[in-house]
Structures are given as C-alpha cells and as structure tokens.
Amino acid sequence: MTVADQFRPGTFVDALRFIWHNSGFLLARTGEHLELSLAALGIALLLSMPLGLWLGHRHRGLFAAVSISNVGRALPSLVLIAVGLTIFGVGFWNNTAALVVLAVPPMLTNAYFGIDGVDRDVVEAARGMGLSELQVLLRVELPLGLPLVIAGIRIAAIFVIATATIAAIAGGGGLGEVIVNQASYGLAGVVAASLCVSALAFLAALLLTLLLRAASRRPDPIP
C-alpha cells in the first residue's frame, strides 16, 4: 500500500477523470463482474429454490433452514475464496463455487420461511378446491410468499457482488482486479473502480427492491 496518510478528497475528482478517460476499460471490467455474479446467482437459484420451496411447502427442516443461514453468515467471503483456491486452483470455477456457497444460505432460508409462513387456511382452501400439491405450491404459496423469497435473492445478490470484488485475488477479473491493483492503477483508479462496483451493487439492490414491491402488491379486492 503506497497511500499517504492524509486527507485527500481531491482523489474523487481524479477518480471521475479516470472514469471519463477509461470508460471502455471499466465497462469491460464491469461486464466481467456482472458475468461472474450472474453465473453464481443463477447456479445458487437452481440449487436453493427447489429445495427451499419444497421444504417450506412440507413445513419440514426448520432446524436445517435456521442453521444453514447462521453458518452461512459466519463464513467469511475472503476465507471462502482462499479455501476455494486451495481446492480448485486459480480460475473462474474457484470463484463461482465460493460465490455459490455464499449465495445459497440467504436464498434457501428466505424461500423456506416465505412458503412456510403462508396462511394455512388459504393452503387448505386451495387443497379443498382440488389443486394438486405442486399446483398449491406454484399457484398459491409461491405468489403469497414471493416478497420474502425475493428479499432473500436481494441479500444474496448484494453478498455476491461484494464478494466478486474480493474474488480478484484469485484471478476472478472484474472490478476487484482494479481495486486490489493500486500499483498499476493508482488511488484514482482504485477509487474509480470502487465507485463503479458500488453503483453496480446499488442498481442490483434497487432492481430487486422494485421487484419486491411489485410482488408485495395485493390484488385489488373484489367490490
């Protein structure tokens, strides 16, 4: 680290200048960042949704859901990346695997609690109308539990984008590569990339918040 220990807010002006002059470069890094994050989120969704929704539907595995979320929170992202390095070596899969491990707990736990918490009377009514178990889950429980399910995806997305930054130490590319490489890009470059990754995380969170709002809107009551 070669930064002077002093108050230098002017760095932000330099950072903006860096963004202006290197927009193509930063855009390419942002693309890599997004690619890694989306791959991890996609795999995590495929792994956690079927299991979380089904367990919630059967009201089983409360203990597992709570423990997975607790253990998941205790797993530091840097440790996951480093341990992934020891197992897979440098590359895309090391980082994807670490990010998936990080993204699954919040998705799984929220999917479980979202479905588990749906009013049982409503579920019974749906069964009484002759809906199959899968139909009950997909047509009744999922729409009602969707806000919590999306909230879990939102937390996972924030985690994944943040950790994809750290993944740069394991050759993950993305914006983190600029942030951890101050020797090449200078403090202005580091701050510029930090601004970009913050904006990316904020936009992802905003998008999912809007989705969550849309999902929580109740249908108009019949007059």
């Binding site: 680290m1 930064v3 002077a4 220990d5 002093q6 108050f7 230098r8 807010p9 002017g10 760095t11 932000f12 607790n70 929170r73 205790a74 797993l75 530091p76 992202s77 840097l78 440790v79 480093a82 341990v83 390095l85 020891t86 924030i158 984008i161 943040a162 950790t163 930054t165 750290i166 130490i169 983190g176 942030i179 951890v180 403090l187 580091v190 701050v191 990339a193 930090s194 601004l195 990754v197 913050s198 995380a201 904020f202 969170a205």
Partner: protein
Amino acid sequence: MIPNFGQGSRCEVDNGWFCTEWVRAHWGDTLQPALVQHLELAAIAIAIGFVLASALAFAGFRFRLLDPPIGFLADFLYTIPSLALFQLLVPFTGVTETTVEIALVSYTLLILYRNMLEGLRGVPPDALEAARGSGLTRLQTLVRVELPLALPAVIAGLRIATVSTISIATVAAFVIPKGLGQPIFTALEQDVFKTEILTAGGLVVALALCADGVLVLVQRALTPWTRLERAS
C-alpha cells in the same frame, strides 16, 4: 511467519492440507496476535454500531417521519461492497484503523436499527395500557416496559450483526495488516499455503460461532420470561 519450504517439515514442504507442527510453531507469533486483533476490530465496531443504532432507533421510534430516511441510508451503506467502501474511505481517513472501523460500523447499522425498531414497535398495546394505568411516566414506560420487551429482538439483531462483523473484518487486511485476514494474505502470497489459510479461516468461523453462543447465553440471562412462556 513465512513457511520456510527449505527447512520445514515434510508436510510443510509438500504444502499438505493441515500441518499441525506449523500451527504449533506459529501460534504464538502469527495466529494468536491476529486473533486478538480480529476480536478487537470487531468488538470496537459492534460497540460503536450498537450505540449509534440505538440513538437512530430511538429517533425513528419517537419521530416516525425519520424512519424512512434513516432506513434508506442504512440500507444504502449495507449495499456498498466492503472492499470498495474501505477504498472509498481511504482518501478521507487514510490507511488507518479508523477507515476500517467506519466501514465495519456502517455494516452493523442496518441490522441493528431494523431489529431495535421492530422490537420497540412490537411491544403489545396491552402492556403500554397497563403501564399507563399504573401511573408510569413516558420515560419510566420506556425503561421498564418497552425496552425489556424489545430485548429479544435487539439481541437477535446483535447476534446477526456480531457474526457478520467478525466475518467482514477479515477483509480489513486489504487496508491494514491486522486481523485474521492478514495470515490468509500471507499464505496466498506463499504459493497458497493451505495450512495457514485453513487455520486462520477456521479461527474466524470459530470466533463468530463463539461470539454468537455468548450472546445466546446473555439473552437467556436477561430475558428469563421468554423461557417461562415456552415451558407453560
């Protein structure tokens, strides 16, 4: 600190999965100091975060208009990736412990604030009515009725905040050479020395789980009535 591949044991030379002799030799000079620093970084952040979040929660509870902006700010801070937040603070506070603590504190705020507010708002109206009926003043009601009843939610928030702060504090080593992230970095530079990564990583997780366990015990001691209810 640096594993000497020339003179080390067979396991160290081969970079085996877990070399007990390395851990024994470097507990005193590497692992233990890092563990203590890690605990220190996290404890300071949680303490400051708790005080700050309490003040914000009281403000949001007393004046409802303040809740949306405070909630938005806390949520916004929580969204910023840790590594980026550290670097964004460097131009202001330099490569110092202050930088790390500001970032760590800002990550505790969202969870603590939300849980405290939820706890305070979740106090049953009957309890408030009874307090008013017994002639308690507003301050007395807060201290004797609302705070104790909000305690389980507050401690639940504190548990989450503690575990995540201990976990995020590993990233601090990107800025200052402190905490359990430091041995992990050293190991990454030493051809991914597995023993050091696994031991330091294990210590972070163990520290987080221990802190969580302590808070569970604290909650049991402070809110004995929650167990009575479950028993009856």
